[in-house]
């Protein structure tokens, strides 16, 4: 018998049902009644658990990063270099990151068996293989829904360097859809022209009073959701500076190595410092079917210093212990070098790096064979990794999401956390 657990739609649930149910549930579960009394930033800083996902879109090569195989038929032209962790080497294209390895753990035995961008991205970000007719929530929506503190007015899931899709939150509803940020806050995230803060509060108070009268004797669940959205908006407007990145000084961008990705890492740092729950930073262009080596010099040249400086800054500021950092993508790249000096899609034996909250810095788990063509020790897939993320931030991955009275597994059943790298 096929495992029914993997078809999420045990009873067919239309997407409409998901959204409606989730909206009411998700928003009221936040208890936004105390919204006007937003906790001070310092309190948030110390209590809000955070996650930052670096998504290397296209699929970074494990051989040019975390699992180098110099001097083999598949290794390519680059050498490996020692890191801040004795005995752990990485590719020479990551000199800055190498100095931060004591904050990072590497999982070298990832085998997802998926070589397709869409399916790989889905498995890695939901912890489940793709199933027709059902959408599991993405990591950003899932973890932010579970971690966001009730008094935190910031969106749960923020994207830098590319937006996500509203579908990512699935049945968790609109509170946890990815919100893309740019340099400046969105146009309406401010009090309208010609209104003082006092007038704005007064008109909202009147609005709420009309709503309260209306709700009396009526089915109020939906009107509550509506009213809460205004309180949330007001609280968010009060925090608009968190989304204003125009003040990041050039000197900081330079210290991060310069360029767009450096800026994005600084934006992420600002969000983490403000207590934003889940931040996804996308760095694109890793799909190197041709000229893999030239491209990786360029790509990792952009990635290495900003990422390493970000990790070091978080550690220096005492934030890394509250922040899980994950570096992953949809799959790795083939050990075999093709005729165009490229590497192709490869879900069979590749690596993921993570660090910070709940992770044992410097740990390495799993291994591939001498030329990286297969996993020879501690094979894991997206499900194991999902269990690990949950455990790292102190959540129980085996406790189901319950939606409409039905359980939905958080991470693929039959897999478990990678204990060796948990702190």
């Amino acid at each position: 018998m096929f495992n029914r657990g993997t078809c999420g739609s045990a009873e067919h649930v239309s997407r409409r049902g998901f959204l409606s149910g989730a909206t009411t549930g998700a928003v009221s579960a936040l208890g936004f009644s105390g919204m006007t009394k937003v906790a001070g930033a310092n309190e948030l800083r110390s209590q809000q658990k955070r996650v930052v996902l670096f998504w290397l879109a296209g699929g970074v090569s494990q051989l040019e990063t975390w699992d180098p195989k110099p001097g083999t038929d598949t290794g390519g032209p680059f050498l490996d270099i020692p890191t801040s962790v004795p005995g752990v080497n990485v590719c020479e294209l990551l000199p800055y990151t190498a100095r931060q390895m004591h904050h990072l753990a590497v999982v070298r035995g990832v085998n997802t068996k998926v070589n397709d961008h869409g399916k790989g991205a889905y498995f890695m970000q939901t912890g489940h293989p793709q199933t027709p007719g059902f959408e599991f929530p993405y990591l950003g929506s899932a973890l932010s829904s579970l971690l966001v503190r009730p008094d935190n007015p910031l969106p749960g899931y923020v994207c830098i360097g590319g937006g996500g899709s509203a579908k990512e939150s699935s049945f968790l509803g609109p509170r946890f859809v990815p919100v893309a940020v740019a340099d400046k806050p969105p146009a309406n995230m401010r009090i309208a022209d010609g209104l003082t803060a006092e007038e704005d509060a007064r008109r909202r108070e009147l609005r709420a009073r009309i709503g309260d009268r209306f709700a009396k004797g009526r089915r109020a669940a939906t009107t509550e959701v509506y009213d809460e959205s205004f309180d949330q908006a007001a609280a968010l407007i009060a925090q608009r500076d968190v989304f204003d990145f125009t003040g990041i000084p050039d000197s900081e961008v330079d210290r991060y190595g310069g360029g767009e990705f450096a800026r994005h890492c600084l934006m992420a740092r600002q969000l983490v410092e403000a207590g934003s729950t889940f931040t996804k930073v996308t760095h694109r262009n890793y799909d190197t079917h041709s000229e893999n080596f030239n491209f990786h010099v360029e790509q990792l040249g952009e990635f290495d210093q900003p990422f390493a400086t970000f990790v070091a800054d978080l550690a220096d500021r005492g934030l890394l212990e509250h922040t899980l950092v994950v570096v992953m993508c949809e799959f790795g790249r083939t050990p075999r070098i093709n005729q165009k000096m490229g590497r192709d899609h490869w879900g069979t034996a590749w690596s993921v790096a993570l660090g910070g909250m709940g992770i044992q810095g410097g740990a390495v788990v799993g291994a591939t064979n001498a030329n990286g063509t297969k996993v020879v020790d501690r094979e894991v897939h997206g499900g194991h990794l999902f269990h690990t993320y949950y455990r790292a931030v102190g959540l129980d991955p085996t406790a189901d999401f319950v939606h409409d009275g039905r359980p939905f597994t958080k991470a693929k059943a039959g897999s478990e956390a990678i204990e060796e790298i948990l702190a």
Partner: protein, 569 residues
């Protein structure tokens, strides 16, 4: 046997079935009365726990939004509240159903339901919209409309509209199978694509592939010269499937059939004679026998029980905010209807009236069930569940209703209406022609719609589901709230100009009870209570000049952004 006589037979059978129930002898009972009787009979204690019929203001706002997609004008509200004729509700329903705004609104609802806001790519949006609008203007029977959609291939350049259903689903067999079943058979059988439905015995993997076998040979063909896409078909191609639940399952196949019905075998054709036009590069093949052609008359037919029920339930849910089978695409034995007899009756009567949509909407609107208040009396401490239809449910305004109602409330629409009415009259005078009442009203509405529809775009982008998704029941996001609080698309409507709402309020110097009345009638379509008049007085205080104007704007905003405005109640 003709379509018509088929239908008569089926109806005879359906009516006979009903007569076997306690309905016997009630054949003269109008449908709206039967609705009330069956709703009340289904739930013990219904009468004591049901909300009384809504007051005039609540009824007026609800039925105007439901039938025409916008709130009533201040003029209509004042007139309706002042009218004491006993039949004024019936007259109102008839007036609304005869209005071009109703034709537009119904067409738009059908558009969203059938296309789920997909981008118009292969068929122009205007062609599709005009197909739907023509249908609602002539009150095309629902079965006929569905057959038109299911039979369309886009070959006739003058009638490309209905082909949008298939073509803008890219001819994708799984999407089309899923949507045809969910929309027209009330059965979301998507799960059965991979296995028999684990908990819904009625939906089997064979049903899924039986339906998809009608479409499996069809594909989108784009003419290399004209670049026009049409839905073409081949003479070969079978569905193959095996359940993922059954280990080592062998591939199965089935000829086309409706769920639960007998397969329709392909005719035996001599080898090499399967085509009228043989497939070749850049040539649209034409098979001798078309599987797809077998579908429309079989599916959209009075004798197809699933179709009748899904059709009646769809319009019921549009009006009541909840299906008798709920959700409306889950009509199966494990999810029984809340009121089985009512659904059977609605389905049979809808079919017996040749699927006359306007008739059905009218009967529903006339029922007390539809007209109940949304507020329960204080004496009811343990309300009945939503499925009892004992109280009007709150229905969130659709994005279009929201955008339009905002313009109506602030006086933008009325000003546009006056201008466009004058423009049409001027045009007619210049051409020395006249138009009948209906044609004139349509001409004006068409121009008003064209002028104002741009305003709905922002609402759609913020409040609607993503393309290809059904609109959610209700969600409220921070983005939406920030838009309503601070965007010029909302606040810009609150600058005094001409005879708009703010200009009228500014004109009512000093009279807070008159100001409150004007505000509440224009925005919430009702008179304010004493408490609310006091609120307005307090809010304005003794401010004068610009400060007073600013407070008037804030007052109007508070009403527009209130939950009372956000819902049909």
């Amino acid at each position: 046997m003709s379509d018509r006589s088929n239908r008569t037979l089926a109806l005879f059978a359906a009516a006979a079935a009903l007569l076997a129930t306690p309905l016997a002898g009630r054949s003269e009972e109008p449908l709206h009365q039967a609705i009330d009787r069956l709703v009340a009979a289904r739930t013990p204690g219904y009468a004591a726990k049901a909300a009384p019929v809504a007051d005039d203001a609540e009824f007026l706002r609800r039925v105007t939004l439901d039938l025409t997609g916008t709130i009533p004008t201040v003029e209509r509200t004042r007139a309706f509240l002042a009218d004491d004729a006993p039949d004024k509700r019936t007259r109102l329903i008839d007036e609304l159903l005869a209005s071009p705004e109703h034709e537009r609104h119904l067409a738009q609802q059908l558009d969203v339901q059938l296309m789920q806001r997909r981008r118009a790519a292969k068929v122009k949006a205007a062609e599709w919209e005009s197909f739907l609008l023509t249908a609602t203007q002539s009150n095309t029977p629902w079965d006929e409309l569905v057959r038109d959609v299911l039979a369309a291939d886009g070959l006739d350049k003058e009638r490309r509209g209905p082909a949008r259903f298939y073509l803008d689903r890219d001819g994708d067999v799984n999407t089309i199978t899923r949507d045809v079943s969910a929309l027209f058979l009330g059965a979301n059988i998507e799960c059965a694509q991979c296995h028999d439905h684990p908990e819904v015995a009625d939906y089997t993997i064979d049903d899924y592939y039986g339906l998809s076998a009608f479409f499996v040979r069809s594909f989108v063909f784009t003419d290399p010269k004209t670049k026009l896409a049409v839905y073409a078909e081949k003479a070969e191609g079978e569905v193959t499937f095996k359940s993922v639940f059954v280990e080592d399952a062998k591939d199965s196949s089935t000829p086309p059939h409706l769920p639960g019905e007998k397969p329709i075998p392909d005719p035996e054709l001599e080898k090499g004679k399967e085509y009228k036009v043989k497939p070749a590069k850049n040539v649209r093949p034409v098979p001798v026998y078309s599987r797809r052609e077998q579908l429309p008359a079989r599916l959209a037919a009075a004798e197809n029980e699933r179709f009748r029920r899904a059709a009646a339930n769809r319009f019921w849910a549009m009006m009541l905010g909840r299906g008798i089978v709920h959700p409306i695409d889950a009509d199966h034995s494990d999810n029984p209807p809340s009121h089985p007899e009512l659904l059977d009756l609605l389905a049979a009567e809808f079919a017996a009236h040749d699927f006359d949509v306007r008739w059905l909407l009218r009967e529903i609107a006339l029922s007390e069930t539809y007209q109940r208040g949304s507020r329960l009396p204080e004496s009811v401490t343990d309300p009945l569940p939503e499925s009892a239809f004992a109280q009007a449910l709150l229905k969130p305004l659709s994005p279009e209703q929201f955008g339009r109602s905002l313009l109506e409330a602030t006086g933008v629409t009325e000003a546009t209406r006056a201008a466009e009415r004058a423009a049409v009259q001027k045009e007619l005078a210049a051409k020395k022609t006249e138009l009948g009442e209906v044609e004139f009203a349509r001409a004006v509405e068409k121009r008003v719609h064209a002028k104002l529809k741009g305003n709905e775009t922002r609402f759609v982008s913020l409040f609607a589901a993503a393309a290809g998704e059904a609109d959610p029941d209700f969600e409220a996001t921070v983005d939406q709230a920030m838009f309503l609080m601070n965007d010029n698309a909302v606040l810009g409507r609150l600058q005094p100009s001409g005879q708009n709402l703010l200009a009228r309020l500014v004109g009512l110097d000093g009279q807070s009870d008159e100001i409150a009345a004007e505000l509440y009638l224009a925005v919430l379509a009702r008179r304010p209570t004493d408490e609310e008049v006091a609120d307005v007085r307090d809010y304005l205080g003794d401010a004068t000049g610009e400060v007073r104007h600013a407070r008037l704007r804030q007052l109007a905003w508070a009403l527009l952004a209130s939950a009372e405005f956000r819902f049909v109640h």
